[in-house]
Symmetry: C2
């Protein structure tokens, strides 16, 4: 769900990282998805930072949000202007300290940044899948990540960490593979979307599907539905911010003019900003992936899928230690949702820390530099790591 933040260049980074790919090599080499459909072959793009220790006990899996990718930290090339999307958190001495931990991040299936998704060539037709790509779920994303962990020889994860729909994957990991997860950090997340969040996603999908260039998902050899995707992104962007952050960031200031244009150009800074964000997004993201990933997020319902209607029951087989974090101005995944999952975890006697961080930046807050968040994550990881070594 969340924004992909561009960070400035940082001398204190993990340095050069490599974009790797893993194509499932073990038979049957295809996944049976939650819908019942089959998908194969499956490729995951991923990145690792830091060093796996001898007993393989320091691995942390980072799970990205809607528009993120496997490039979590560092630089592909020395001359790159921008590091990975969570470079402020993942690096030497940082919240997730790559001097201590081995960090893995993979692009979700259904994505468009190297993992198998709707823009991938379907081997049966030798054409991009488009809408023939099966609808995937958060559980399917996690199953694919599990196969990657098997490939990397990681039997136990010190932690799974992620925000927004990355946080949904965190929860799903804890429920689907409890024996593999020592600790878990869902940030700015939820066990299921509210009607409001589904509504925003649905309107964004409608904006894409209303673009005639979308062509029922079959546009890979022609013009792309850029206008529809840009509108979808603009809708998303509003939901990542907050009333307060927008007042602070833009207010009613005009863009490069002293008076109204009295036409339909962008007059206000907030209008220019949204138009720019929309335009930039279409250069790097696939419209069909937007449809598939938002649908997966809307479908996710931990209570129904794992708890027979009970959030408490859903966590009954979970053993992970939790750090749950929400942000005061996040109206997409508001604090009451995090509180509800914390309550359910506690009713199962789980070791849970919860913090609502005062932040005016809305849902995006989890991706921004925040000393409080860094310290919380750093401290929590140190504790669970030292406890796991006993």
């Amino acid at each position: 769900m969340s924004e992909y933040i561009e960070h400035d260049k940082d001398a204190n980074s993990v340095g050069i990282v490599e974009k790797k790919v893993y194509t499932f090599a073990e038979p049957p080499m295809e996944m049976v998805l939650e819908s019942g459909a089959k998908l194969g072959p499956v490729t995951l793009a991923y990145e690792t930072c830091g060093t796996l220790n001898a007993d393989r006990s320091n691995a942390i899996l980072v799970l990205h949000a809607l528009s993120g990718d496997s490039h979590v930290a560092g630089y592909y090339k020395a001359e790159d202007d921008k590091p990975g999307w969570w470079d402020n958190m993942v690096g030497p001495g940082k919240g997730i300290d790559t001097n201590k931990y081995f960090v893995i991040c993979s692009n979700v299936i259904g994505g468009c940044m190297g993992s198998t998704g709707p823009c991938t060539i379907n081997p049966k037709t030798v054409m991009p899948y488009g809408l023939n790509f099966p609808v995937i779920t958060i559980g399917d994303m996690v199953d694919a990540q599990k196969a990657l962990m098997d490939h990397l020889g990681i039997k136990k994860l010190l932690a799974v960490v992620g925000g927004s729909i990355g946080g949904m994957q965190v929860l799903e990991w804890c429920i689907r593979y409890p024996q593999m997860v020592t600790a878990a950090i869902p940030l700015a997340s939820t066990t299921r979307h509210s009607a409001l969040t589904i509504a925003f996603n649905e309107v964004a999908r409608q904006a894409i599907m209303a673009d005639p260039k979308w062509n029922n998902g079959d546009y890979y050899f022609g013009p792309k539905p850029d206008l529809g995707l840009a509108v979808a992104r603009m809708i998303g962007h509003i939901t990542y911010l907050s009333d307060e952050s927008m007042r602070h960031k833009f207010g009613r200031r005009l863009q490069d003019k002293s008076d109204f244009s009295f036409n339909f150009d962008a007059d206000f800074q907030v209008e220019s900003y949204l138009r720019y964000q929309g335009k930039k997004f279409v250069e790097r993201f696939d419209a069909n992936s937007f449809l598939y990933l938002t649908k997966a997020a809307d479908y996710y319902d931990l209570e129904i899928q794992h708890g027979n209607g009970s959030e408490v029951h859903a966590f009954s087989k979970t053993t992970a230690k939790f750090l749950v974090v929400s942000f005061t101005s996040d109206w997409l995944y508001p604090t009451y949702q995090s509180r509800s999952m914390v309550k359910a975890m506690k009713k199962n006697g789980l070791d849970v820390s919860f913090c609502e961080i005062e932040a005016k930046w809305g849902h995006d807050a989890f991706l921004l530099s925040n000393e409080r968040l860094f310290a919380l994550i750093k401290g929590f990881l140190e504790r669970v790591y030292s406890e796991s070594q006993k």
Copy 2:
């Protein structure tokens, strides 16, 4: 801005009403707009209910919101299924009692329900204006209404009443024509849009302009930009509701199915609802009017336009008695905005009543049946009417 609510048939209504039109008849017969552009001839569609008393002291002007029209109460024909948009408030014995008061409501200029707007024929080209229609402001809407009052021989209004951008017109009336307004009721309104509200309007406009059928506003002789306008309406619709009302109204309930479709059909009730609202809207509303009216609302800034940057100063020439009402779950025009205008009015020593009504229905609350709101408006009007007779 606000939703156009369809009410059920009500035996206690003003009965049959007539859609009238007034084309400015006094020279120069054209308006000089705030932008400096000229517009003419100008026609306003309007409706009246109740009877103007002998001394013309019981006239109330009702000002509609974004998608409203002049049909405020009653029925055009006995067989009509639905009454006017505020039939629950305007009628015999109702909050605005047509046994006592003479109610006038006109469609705003820029609209598409009978008043001069972008779909009107431009006499110079004998073609619809389209984007040649000048950008209008809230002040221009009020100036046109003033001409209608002159035509009707009404020199003083007992009250001006309206919600959302209707409330902006209320404020503008009090500032532009203070000697004509005895009392004023701005509901769920603001002196200026926040960046968040501008952002939603801008994305809605972009959705319309992204539709190739919009054709730069020139679509009156071909297919209309229905898909773009539907997306715009869906965005608006979300903002008229609230997290709480959507949880209550839809939750995560599925529409006519027991399990997910695993495709991009509407699965959830909230998705079906939005798609339906989008489709219904395009049957009755003009996409260009949507652009013009949202732009007028975004431009409105009482503080800058009338107060030299000071909200307090903006009300300095106002003499009206005010009833200001906000609603707890309205996040489009939140209570803090109403409080701010109330403070500015009070600093000018004005007679102001303020009430924040507890309501979970979001911005739409001002249009829905609410005993508290009825009683407040009824009581306030009785007081100001009796005081005006002394």
